[in-house]
Symmetry: C2
DNA sequence: TTGAAAGCGGTACCAG
DNA sequence: CTGGTACCGCTTTCAA
């Protein structure tokens, strides 16, 4: 019950009366809603200076139902894959007079929905959702209120919802081809559960491509476990350790593609500890090309998802939507195979 | 000019009229502001259900100047040191009915100030600022409006502003002692510029401790460069590379403490590439104990700053402040030396 | 216990 | 170009 906020803020009314005009005029000038006489502008400007007036964006968006903030939901703030995209995105937002807030939901549908439901009223200009699932209803609510919604690293079923994602098809060709060329005999996929649509897609394409190149493509080559999605490093390490120790060496893949770099780095440690040489006995590659990938030893081969690129394209989409432009609703970004030392 | 928000939201008025009561009564019931008859409660509850009413938090905070959101400013979203703290903090906030939004300012004073100035009106219950500088004026404005401000990983000059930080004193004793025991001859500090008060403190204590143990403690052992604060990995790598290639090997430190793990990881790569063996010819340690530190090869020795701990303590402070409890204004958290393979 | 009405700080609309 | 005023959705007196 701590109420009692002190120090009232300077209001548009005070500015107006000091400048000897009406609040509406001040508002018009500030927003360019209607022309204002040069001389009046000056008086208002002075008043603003004098009182240190800062417009109350909240009150404004309550009335106009429009603001300059963009909320971004991310499944996991600890993953630099996301943060990298986010920092280029927020940079751009900032440069354009918007400002972006990041809200993490740690892969919890409930949390995600709760946040989205709150957002209804915060009236952000747009909300960007990374991955996420089971949120359709909330999304439609936002849209109905005129808030732009963009899906990132995920493509929507609904064609009217704009989304931006990485191409998950061609890349697997490159990957399997590479492994084949290097002489690996069996390729395994190491991944979180295919709950996230993105992962599901990768898995399907992976299996498909394996078949195409004559590799085994049954259950024995996919290694998925739920806890892999949180704390990628640790859980990737542990799961790999279990696999290496419990399964028969003959049956195990000698080449591994992990669904994220963090996972791959965890696996590499497990492999080292169990006496496997990389890339000699075991080839491992990741996904994302996060910054450290280049710094571990051996360097991690990975499928690069241009995070800066995604950040920029995302911003472009947001701006386009905000301006009401016709935009490409389904943007697909290429991935690039980056070969380093790990396979 | 895209206006025209569609689909009006359900308002408290509609609920009131459906329940046959006044808006004030609904508000009273929702907030426990005044007793409401049992039977009335029921009618209101039904109306809420029926209309799927969700209170508009914006309007509410405009009037009451109080809300359930906490804004967190962080200098860099790409650094898992911060994100680790943030994710435990937001988790806690979420569990307690609050919700935390993260805003990055990328070490820009201007951006930081701009954000803080906006926040005035958003009326968060509290704002947490990680590092940051030159923001005193804005901070006081927030406080004057009754918004709680907490400084993190930084201690305030002003005793009335609560802050939480890691102990930067004792840890250096442990560090230098360790290096001494391992027989290193010269210890260097590799760090971003001491603009951030936190870094300044580390530097002072470092030099101080070196002297105490009879190590050289002049300018020749501190290696600082501005760009080190962004993209730690890359810039750490590059700077180290330059140092190794340009300076005379005899004069260079054989032991290095980097002001962050990311920096250290970058340095390790540079050292490897220039043919140095770690920890044989060069000992390197970092600061933070970020997750990957354990996964690189060799494992990175580091000063652990318990990020989960900081997250939890931070939340405790926020809650305390919000409840108006008397709290410890200057919380200092211990650091722990974690010795792995890199020195 | 409840209702009526006056704001919170802006913006939208209309008349002049 | 400018002023007046209703109103966004909710909370807060205050009187009944």
């Amino acid at each position: 019950m701590t109420k009692g906020r002190s120090s009232k803020s300077v209001t548009i009314k005070q500015v107006a009366s000091l400048a000897g005009v009406s609040p509406g005029t001040v508002s018009n000038m500030l927003n360019g809603t209607a022309p204002v006489a040069k001389e009046t502008v000056e008086r208002i400007t002075n008043a603003i200076e004098e009182l240190h007036y800062v417009p109350n964006v909240i009150a404004s968006s309550l009335r106009s139902k429009t603001g300059k903030v963009i909320d971004v939901l991310t499944p996991n703030m600890n993953n630099t894959f996301y943060t990298r995209i986010l920092s280029t995105f927020t940079e751009l937002a900032d440069k354009n007079g918007y400002y972006a807030r990041v809200i993490g939901f740690e892969y919890s549908v409930e949390r995600e929905k709760r946040v989205l439901s709150n957002l209804q009223h915060h009236m952000p200009a747009a909300v960007v959702i990374f991955n996420g699932f089971g949120d359709e209803e909330e999304i439609y609510k936002l849209i109905k209120r005129g808030i732009k919604v963009i899906l990132a690293d995920r493509v929507s079923q609904d064609d009217s919802i704009p989304s931006i994602s990485f191409d998950n098809k061609k890349i697997f060709n490159d990957i399997v081809k590479m492994f084949k060329k290097k002489g690996y005999k069996k390729i395994g996929l190491f991944t979180e559960l295919p709950q996230i649509q993105n992962i599901r897609e990768r898995m399907d394409n992976f299996l498909c491509t394996l078949k195409k190149y004559g590799y085994p493509a049954d259950d024995s080559v996919v290694f998925a476990r739920e806890d892999l999605r949180l704390d990628n490093l640790k859980n990737g390490y542990q799961y790999m350790k279990e696999i290496l120790e419990e399964k028969d060496k003959k049956e195990l893949p000698d080449a591994w593609v992990a669904s994220s770099d963090l996972l791959a780095i965890g696996m590499m440690k497990a492999a080292r500890e169990n006496g496997y040489s990389i890339p000699g006995e075991l080839g491992i590659m990741g996904f994302d090309n996060i910054a450290v990938a280049e710094y571990v030893e051996p360097g991690l081969t990975t499928a690069e998802q241009g995070q800066e690129l995604m950040g920029r394209e995302l911003w472009k989409m947001v701006v386009g939507l905000l301006k009401g432009d016709k935009i490409e609703k389904k943007k697909v970004l290429p991935q690039k195979l980056i070969i380093r030392g790990s396979c």
